[in-house]
Homo-oligomer: 323 residues x 2
């Protein structure tokens, strides 16, 4: 019997989303657990196993009959041994072996990989990156993650941490980053940077819409909505984000000469506001020959990219392992 169902796990800062994925890379059913409820390794393993078992039951199979379970973790991962080196913003995760205990309990193949790598694999195989030979995947959110496909294979680097686009320094005297350095791409286009730009814009412009917006909590979505409603100050925020992102992308284009760049993550929802400046900056800052080769597109898997990527990543890994 060919195993058709896979479970993808998207371990985010707020929620852990666990989804049943079909053989055609569609999400059939999703369950969500609050990240704070599974914040320790033991709680995480227990929580995942419970949810995977109940998802399997819901379609009348056992977990051991799944094609496998893929887990995307927000931090550097040793894929070969299934070990999470550490997690961004979650203390207590140091060299945590996840794959072994999950495989023992669920009795199906498991994969642990970095979430940005899985996003990239998912979009590459089942989304907006299809057919690309050299692809860069970017996730925009609180953090800025990335994954690289070189010559038709995910490129992991010497110790598995390749693709850290978020900590490319684009401005040596720039803003302070969560990593302690200055001027990282993440420090200039991550959620915190967007909110900082927004607060500055509010102070400068005192636009009516913004005054309204201030009653609610400031979020990137709110900045998008204000832009939508014609607020000029909100639009300047996205122009600034587009400019910094464009510089980062131009560096990637010059260095890696990809044929596709796929951009996802929550902040990509503001695509129409930052994309024009982003494209203009890449046109201006990247070399002609490399620039002509690249298509810069928005991810197609949306909020399910993490779940689908984790499932597709598992398929890929199994395929490579069988060779």
């Amino acid at each position: 019997m060919r195993r058709t169902w896979t479970v993808g796990v998207d371990f985010g800062g707020t929620n852990v989303k666990i989804g049943l994925v079909t053989a055609t890379a569609r999400v059939h059913r999703t369950l969500v657990v609050a990240s704070k409820d599974v914040a320790t390794p033991t709680a995480f393993i227990n929580g995942i196993c419970d949810v995977v078992n109940s998802l399997a039951r819901s379609i009348g199979i056992r977990a051991s009959q799944l094609r496998g379970v893929g887990v995307g973790a927000p931090g550097p991962v040793d894929v070969t041994h299934g070990i999470v080196h550490s997690l961004v913003n979650v203390p207590g995760w140091r060299q945590v072996s996840l794959r072994r205990p999950l495989e023992r309990r669920l009795r199906c193949p498991c994969l642990i990989d970095n979430d940005a790598n899985l996003f990239t694999i998912g979009e590459w195989r089942a989304g907006a990156g299809r057919g690309a030979r050299a692809l860069v995947g970017l996730t925009l959110g609180t953090g800025v993650g990335g994954g690289l496909v070189c010559d038709g294979a995910l490129y992991r680097g010497a110790s598995g941490s390749a693709g850290e686009v978020g900590h490319m320094v684009i401005h040596p005297q720039g803003w302070r980053c969560g990593c302690g350095r200055r001027g990282c791409l993440e420090a200039h286009i991550g959620t915190r940077a967007i909110l900082r730009l927004a607060r500055e814009a509010v102070r400068r412009h005192r636009a009516a819409l913004w005054a309204l917006a201030q009653r609610a909590q400031l979020t990137p979505e709110l900045v998008s909505r204000a832009a939508e409603q014609g607020d000029a100050s909100a639009r300047t925020v996205w122009v600034a984000v587009g400019r910094s992102l464009g510089i980062g992308l131009a560096n990637l284009v010059n260095l890696l000469n990809p044929d596709r760049i796929v951009i996802g993550g929550g902040v990509a929802q503001a695509w129409r506001w930052f994309a024009p400046t982003m494209r203009k900056t890449v046109r201006h800052e990247a070399m002609a020959i490399s620039q002509r080769a690249v298509g810069i597109v928005r991810g197609r898997l949306g909020s399910e990219a993490g779940i689908i990527g984790a499932a597709v990543g598992l398929w890929q890994e199994r395929r490579t392992a069988r060779r």
Copy 2:
């Protein structure tokens, strides 16, 4: 009969160096032609053929008995078709087919590739990059070139121009680059930047040695020599170069997680003056996990790196083609 001799051609801004390379990647004999004498494609092909024929004669064989001829060109190259897209700083080279005419005239296999790619291949296979799986090669000079080895193979990107580290923007409000943009790595550590830093240092410090130095033409070597002689202002120049180079390297380390970075080119002769600041900056700016994996070393092939790289590149290409 196994063909033992290869010719490597290093097409530089001032000279074209053509060397006979042994089967163990050593340069046996070199002839030099002024670049201005072979500045047009026809003159170049004629000149190269003359020199290759005379080098072959000098060891008692014909050019057709060579293992092949490898040519490194300072610009983007279509390796598959042996076409030079353009040359940096040399007008009149647009889509020039070099491999076909050279092969027809010399009757041996020829390879045309980008010079920084060939530098990287040479150091990787026969120099300081031996054994690396993920390697970045950098050449420091008038321009700053680069080559990438990913998962044990040279990575060329979608249109053959991957590895352009020189035009990575490290400072959006930085110095104007020859490419028209601002703040490229090359604009901050290329020869012109070094001389600019040196002139500023002279103006600020009025050091005795510098006064002396000013009688001769200012060159990076002179700045090195002044540093050697204890001139503090000359040392500040190399500290500035080391800092900018370090930022560029930290970005490469974060992005590509290489196990080795090999640095060559004329300016690498000032290694002892810029390397300490370069290393300190990488330690400070790159992520711990990637930083621990990388060794940053000076190229071992020195001024022969271009010739040896061109020869080794030809061997590699022939090996890949035979597979």
